[in-house]
Symmetry: C2
Amino acid sequence: MAFLTACKLQDPVTIADKLFLDLRRAILVGEIPAGKKISEPELAAAYGVSRGSLREAIGKLENCNLVTRKPNIGARIIDFSTEQLLEIYQIREATEGMAARLAAEHMTAEELVHLRKILERHHAEIAQHQSYSQHDVDLDFHFSIIQGSKNKRLIRMLCQDLYDLVRFYRFRLKSGFSRSEQAFQEHNLIVSAIERRDGEMAETLMRHHIRASRDYACKLLEQMPTSDT
Amino acid sequence: MAFLTACKLQDPVTIADKLFLDLRRAILVGEIPAGKKISEPELAAAYGVSRGSLREAIGKLENCNLVTRKPNIGARIIDFSTEQLLEIYQIREATEGMAARLAAEHMTAEELVHLRKILERHHAEIAQHQSYSQHDVDLDFHFSIIQGSKNKRLIRMLCQDLYDLVRFYRFRLKSGFSRSEQAFQEHNLIVSAIERRDGEMAETLMRHHIRASRDYACKLLEQMPTSDT
DNA sequence: CTTGGTTATAGTGTCGACATTATAACTTCA
DNA sequence: TGAAGTTATAATGTCGACACTATAACCAAG
């Protein structure tokens, strides 16, 4: 399960943190349906914790953009919309483009080897048509490059905040995600540019790659029935 | 005081929210020194509120990146470093570049008029050498363009999260910020590009502008004594 | 005098209870 | 019957107290 790696809390010590991770997973996987209102007493009882700890956990979920709160009304799981998905893609295009540029400047030799390994895994899984694990590979690829930027705040911004949203949407669009071959080619070009230390080109290619992903997601969404709760 | 505009909480109803705004302002202005450890009992007593409310406020401050928390140890105000400042500039270059591109596509005529007015204000204040209020004008300019992108998540990401950090640093570098004339020229070019609906050019110019700001800030930092606590 | 361990203290994490607000159900009147 | 007002209920906001952890002070042995 390379699901929920790259999280600030490797070993949650406090109850609120454990709860946060539990709820986060439940939301991302869809155990808790999107748009659902959170009842604090109910959830607290279900997990056997106090309302105080739960509220703290909800606060952290709010940071991750997975729930929204209104004063005196309560918290609810975020709802997904085509509009928001496109917004996220625009942000990813800008930020991950920059990450790729910086990665070309700062990535170490070992990190590049690791990146190549991810590509090989991707290639192997395409050959076996294991489309279900290609999402993880794709995430790993993007994570590695973001990590390679060495910009701590950018890493935090993307890995901790934005990518929870990305996972949230992935889990709801993973129907026929057969853009893997194309994506693999694009990944390949990006890695090559990084290996050449060509930051400008790495950024351009990454932006192109994410724009292509966005266009593909749009096409998928158009031919989908509007799913209501 | 155009200080703390553009915040999600126009009218804070809950105690924790009021406290959050109070503390946020105190941190940005420097009333609470950078790097200072927060004592929950002490602060709670000082503001006459319960520790629970305070903890909630601290949680929100953590989202704004103004404090960091470690479990069982406590929270402390962030410390500023040259490294972090550069990281922020890199992120701004990418995200605000994208914002400018989107603004060129989506800004309304009225918003463009407003933008021009900001430029005029900037121009007037340069003539009068009111360098103290030029920071506000500069912030207003960038805020307007971000707002014009119409990307709600991008707006939130920048205006709510990143720009608190920008203000945090501004307040500590506002010594001789005499790049105003240069900045004004660059702002002018950006607005022109947006008016022409030339998103590509707007992005390029915005990135150039922010990179120039970064270089200038770097120069300032180099000829500054390392300030210890 | 220094170092290791022990105790004391302050601080954070957690909880249950009360106050206040929003929502649902109900009653009453047109 | 429908709509407005009122009451009742449930949920959120707030608080003070207890439990546990980390740090500081202290003491003892080398």
